[in-house]
Symmetry: C2
Subunit: 497 residues, 2 copies
Amino acid sequence: MTKATEEKFMALLKEEASYGEAIGLMAWDMRTKAPKKGMDNRSEVLGVLAQKVHEIQTSDEMKSYIDELKGNTQDPVIQKSLQEAEETYNKTAKIPTSEYRAYVTLQSKAESMWGEAKENNDFESFRPYLEKLVEYNRKFADYWGYENHRYDALLNNYEPGMTVEILDQVFPKVRKALTNLLEAIKNAPNQPDPSVLEGHFPKEQQEKFSYEILERMGYDFEAGRLDETVHPFAIGLNHNDVRVTTKYDERDFRTAVFGTIHEGGHALYEQNIDPKLSFTPLATGTSMGIHESQSLFWENFISRSEAFWENHYQLFQSYAPDKFNDISLDEFYRAINEVKPSLIRIEADELTYCLHIMVRYELEKALIGGEIEVKDLPELWNSKMEDYLGVKPSNDSEGVLQDIHWSGGDFGYFPSYALGYMYAAQFENKMREDLDIESIIRQGDFEQIKKWLTNHIHQYGKMKKPLEILNEVTGEGLNADYLINYLTNKYKNIYQY
Amino acid sequence: MTKATEEKFMALLKEEASYGEAIGLMAWDMRTKAPKKGMDNRSEVLGVLAQKVHEIQTSDEMKSYIDELKGNTQDPVIQKSLQEAEETYNKTAKIPTSEYRAYVTLQSKAESMWGEAKENNDFESFRPYLEKLVEYNRKFADYWGYENHRYDALLNNYEPGMTVEILDQVFPKVRKALTNLLEAIKNAPNQPDPSVLEGHFPKEQQEKFSYEILERMGYDFEAGRLDETVHPFAIGLNHNDVRVTTKYDERDFRTAVFGTIHEGGHALYEQNIDPKLSFTPLATGTSMGIHESQSLFWENFISRSEAFWENHYQLFQSYAPDKFNDISLDEFYRAINEVKPSLIRIEADELTYCLHIMVRYELEKALIGGEIEVKDLPELWNSKMEDYLGVKPSNDSEGVLQDIHWSGGDFGYFPSYALGYMYAAQFENKMREDLDIESIIRQGDFEQIKKWLTNHIHQYGKMKKPLEILNEVTGEGLNADYLINYLTNKYKNIYQY
């Protein structure tokens, strides 16, 4: 009896995952290849399939399998799949259908209003939408429930197990360390010269280098591909079809080089998930934070390291404009690691990035907690930017309106980025005990690193929760010290303060 | 009451069409971009979605809407959609579910067995599969019913309204005319010299020319795109997303040039279907034959015409290798129109192509009718090829095994190709009354031609049946005289016999 139910449950999950792959392909297509006139039609098709997924997740059929199988199955994949299915069921079932529909409509409207507001630097036109989005998210958090802070319920969507309590212990410490570092760097005697990186770098050459680096990272091109897009992303349709996208800026090669490696890190995660998890909700990265730890590990700990460029600068030069023949490895390495507080998160360097996240975390936590209101955001944003980064937006487009996240109701997402940095540093510290990372990087054969990441992290997909992985791999919980030490050593060496 | 049912009916059709668009995109992706390792997973996803479409088409819900709305709705789009839905429902409902499933499994197995058999030139290994496919198709035809010939029931799947009776009046006449023409040509004094077309033509240049020609045809690149593939096709995901694929052979530009124009003809049809048919089963070409008439009209009547090259040869030369500067327009025009009986259908010229179809038509008609059996096919194939084309396969790979169609159970499909030629000639003859085609082609602005085709054919999608369109546009039924006249005049001029 249970056996038959297990099969029916897995068949239903397969149906859900199949829609998921179709939706994923359509999304990839819309952001890379699809002709623009077909977008309206495509959006409707996406809507139909998303609705189907939602129906399955909240169906009586799903509920009956969960009830029947819970505690009655031995297979660990089915057990974990049940757990995921139940969490999704409960989360969705707690929201009244009429509210859910109204919210979906609001999301898409708000996103397009945000686009206009950003373009016109007009926060007021977006404010009523953002207010409604906040209101819904407060309500949803209350439906879902939480122990200490309402914001925990939202955090949980992106980083299961993470809480305000943990973040409030860690983030202020990071903030303090980073602002101190920033101060030291500002007054340091040995400033890098980023102008050495300027110059026209043809797209075709950047593309070739991107392919070469992805190959070296161990990205499997027979199970993926690289395409161009406006806002780069990686997407796993299934573990054998994980696509990377990148953007080529002919005036600044860093966009493509570090962007490709970043997305390549995400892609390696998805490519190396255990195939036995296919067609279950477990066949993807376990959380936003752990995912980001993989992309940032490759982007920062590997590809912004001195060892990496000792090995790869020559290769880079072979694709780069001739001027780079006259730029020394040291000049190059220091230039790509320049620290410079700026207004825009996605352009931030490795050090100041987390400070951007702190600003957002504090604001959205207070917003969801009801301590502040949407109307207070622009001013608070600007003053926090000044406090933490020493820069102040001259308008809301380069301030509170810069990110798309809130317009889609994605509150609780931002902390994942900072968590990714910390996790990456924690993993790297642990990896150091098993591998001589620098010498591996210098040799340019990343196989051992890829294997380590697969063994410790990738293969599990969602079989383990993020903090479970962190604890099992590093023997401790969230700890910012590793990131702080890493950044301190790195920048001391570069800036020689 | 009816209003509400109409809405529910249209919503169900929209769901079906949405799966259709997702399936279409996945198919396009698999044939152009998808990494090979992801294929297995993708096939399963396709299976899930195809099953969903099948479930909708045969659902009690669908049946109830058909019963309730039939004769009770004023909206012509709903009326025609009902008719389509009913035909599909009946067709599918008449096949017992267990047989349908077994057949689907057989199809996919047979297709892969065919691939191996073709590669190994081993008809015997494929024979048992083909026998089962024939058996199923005979049974299905009996389930579906027919008036005169069992084969009519299968023809109807691809060319509604077409019958053995009509084909048997027309095809022999065509065959006789073409074999006579072929004889005359063989002995004609003025043979073209195809060697003038030889030489290395870089892919990038062929690609640029392909884009340019599609633009000129009026293909809308904002509602489509051009990609490379192994077996070229065009696919309409929706009327604003109709994609063309082509193949570049650097040793023979004709593959890409005429292939792109051919697929472009299909694409123009799909791009110009009335948008009000979107998300219904009517939003596609009305039949295989009419679709083929559009691709062949552009490929043959336009792009293999003297007028076309009078205008476009200079453009062609600007992309082509330098050697073409020394080849006269006349030499070029005659060379691209060389007639040469060959063994392989897809490589056939404009004149002999229909003879390849006759061979297949006669064999599958007899096969479905039970007059011959699968074991008789290789020998019959070879002797008919010799009779009609004067060439004889030296093995089954270049004979009876060459086409994929039968391995997928597609009996009744082949005649559409020959019908496409005849329809195209009939349409062209009619168009001539309204437009000065040669002078339009010479001017190179095809807008009027595109408009004529849209007004008379494209816009209707499946609102009209193929023979309905043929009759309304030309005032008569299938008539091979126009094709025969066109070919006779064309080749008399070229070969001067």
